[in-house]
Subunit: 305 residues, 2 copies
């Protein structure tokens, strides 16, 4: 504690009392050497406590988002493998992904499908080969691992959404928990996201398209990962750019409010809604395509490569 | 059955009796149409049974090997993620891979490490941050999934070794279960592996190096995946090419014996051992490097690209 206080005093530029003399005078230590040993110990503890302090809420969220992405990728690969493997024994089964894993885990061989199951008919007439006991055990173990990963995925997702609700309530309100967490994860921290201009927020995750735009003369990307929000995804193409700009502006505002005040401000979401409906009203029809130039100007500098 | 018999007769070029007339005569069917319906039904069943028959033992092994590779890849990625994630809470822990997953699954927070555990000292002095309950649950779930994958991996491995023992006893004897299975998996089936010349077996899995050798003038690869066997792996570099050639020849021989006779022949392994020790005896010391050309000839046609 003393060391931390000294550090604070140093940082604020105030004069520091001669601690060594003070400690010796009041009998806190007996010898100069004792004081040195104590000082070293205190400094190490202070350093450790500072390092522990680097674990903030947004670091946790970033880790969870990265774990989520990893699980997504791996789950896809493993479920494709399961599809191919189990397809040898029951090619008529039209399930993929999680339903397939649950099916295999529950029944194993298609001979175990009960009569009242909707797939009984397919299972009994299947032209797949018979599943031996050893293979069945293997497939079931594989499928149950896959199911476990799906469960963990859900758990992490709800953790992120809950965590975002307390870490960045405004951002969660505007962009949704997962998208907000992904933005923080790509930016590195909530602080960095708050420092980004909204034009950067708009194209976060569209790096390739952005740099292609800067290098050659391709059109600039209209949206990065914020495309995943229904606001943009479900909009007709001619509104997307405008909607993305308004959306990114409010995301940026929300991140700043979260980082600097930490209080929830419902007006951001309201303003966003107003802005979005104004854009939708102003652009009800697709614009007529310009029949002329541009294209030429683009091609000059390379166009697509 | 009838249809299959007819197919067999057709294939062997014998004359087929007029089945339709026969069936009508003996009262097996009453009408011409009945016979058509029956014929259609029988043909469908025959086709299904032929399709089911495509599932041979080596197809199963191939699937298992592919699943094993997939699990390996995914387990590596997930365990790296766990290392990074858990490292925030216990950076002094020097475990990786499976031991790490088992540790996290067993203890979760480092506060739960019991006093008599060898890591208790590190855990109590760690400068990692505190693990909250929600994070602990998440990490434990993640780690337990990972442990499940490790278990399944072992299960698949023992399945492969067992399966190979009955499918290809000689190949297993000479090359080991896993390496044999991998060779079959890359070749496509035991039949194809048996048809490969041993020079192909020697470089299976070294495709890039082989084609580079054929294209430019780089030295030919000495071994493909057979390098994974201790015979090659533990040998000094100047013996590897010779050992690999002898080893591949015996693998090829074993695969052929397995496919065409199916009986175990211990003499293959014995001959291999003899051959290997002869090579080792004949080449005890590294050869002197040739101080001259070759290099030039190589460079002419491009060398490394």
């Amino acid at each position: 504690m003393l060391a931390l206080r000294v550090l604070e005093l140093q940082e604020s530029g105030q004069t520091i009392p001669d601690l060594r003399q003070l400690a010796l005078d009041c009998g806190f230590v007996d010898l100069d050497e004792d004081y040195d040993i104590l000082l070293r110990d205190v400094c190490i503890r202070a350093a450790k406590s500072r390092i522990s302090g680097t674990d903030t809420d947004d670091v946790r969220i970033v880790h969870a988002v990265e774990a989520l992405d990893d699980i997504d990728k791996n789950v896809n690969e493993l479920s494709e493998r399961l599809l191919e493997w189990y397809g040898m024994y029951f090619p008529e089964l039209e399930l993929t992904g999680e339903p397939l894993a649950r099916f295999v885990m529950a029944f194993g061989s298609r001979g175990n499908v009960p009569e009242d199951h909707q797939l009984f008919d397919k299972a009994s007439k299947s032209m797949g080969s018979e599943l031996s006991f050893a293979d069945e055990e293997l497939l079931k173990a594989f499928a149950s691992n896959l199911c476990g990963l799906y469960d963990t995925r859900r758990q992490i997702e709800s953790y992120i959404v809950t965590g975002m609700g307390s870490l960045a309530p405004n951002l969660t309100d505007v962009a949704g928990g997962l998208l907000g967490a992904r933005l923080i994860s790509i930016a590195g921290s909530l602080e960095k996201l708050a420092a980004f201009p909204s034009s950067t927020v708009q194209v976060i995750g569209a790096n390739r398209a952005l740099f292609k735009h800067l290098r050659s003369n391709t059109p600039s990307p209209k949206h990065g990962i914020i495309f995943n929000n229904v606001i943009i995804k479900n909009a007709p193409w001619w509104q997307r750019g405008k909607l993305a700009r308004a959306f990114a502006a409010k995301i940026s505002l929300a991140a700043r409010t979260d980082f600097y005040s930490g209080e929830k401000d419902p007006s951001i979401k309201e303003q966003l809604e107003k802005k979005l409906s104004a854009i939708r009203k102003a652009n009800p029809n697709p614009p007529k395509k310009k029949s002329k130039p541009k294209g030429k100007g683009r091609k000059k500098r390379g166009g697509r490569r």
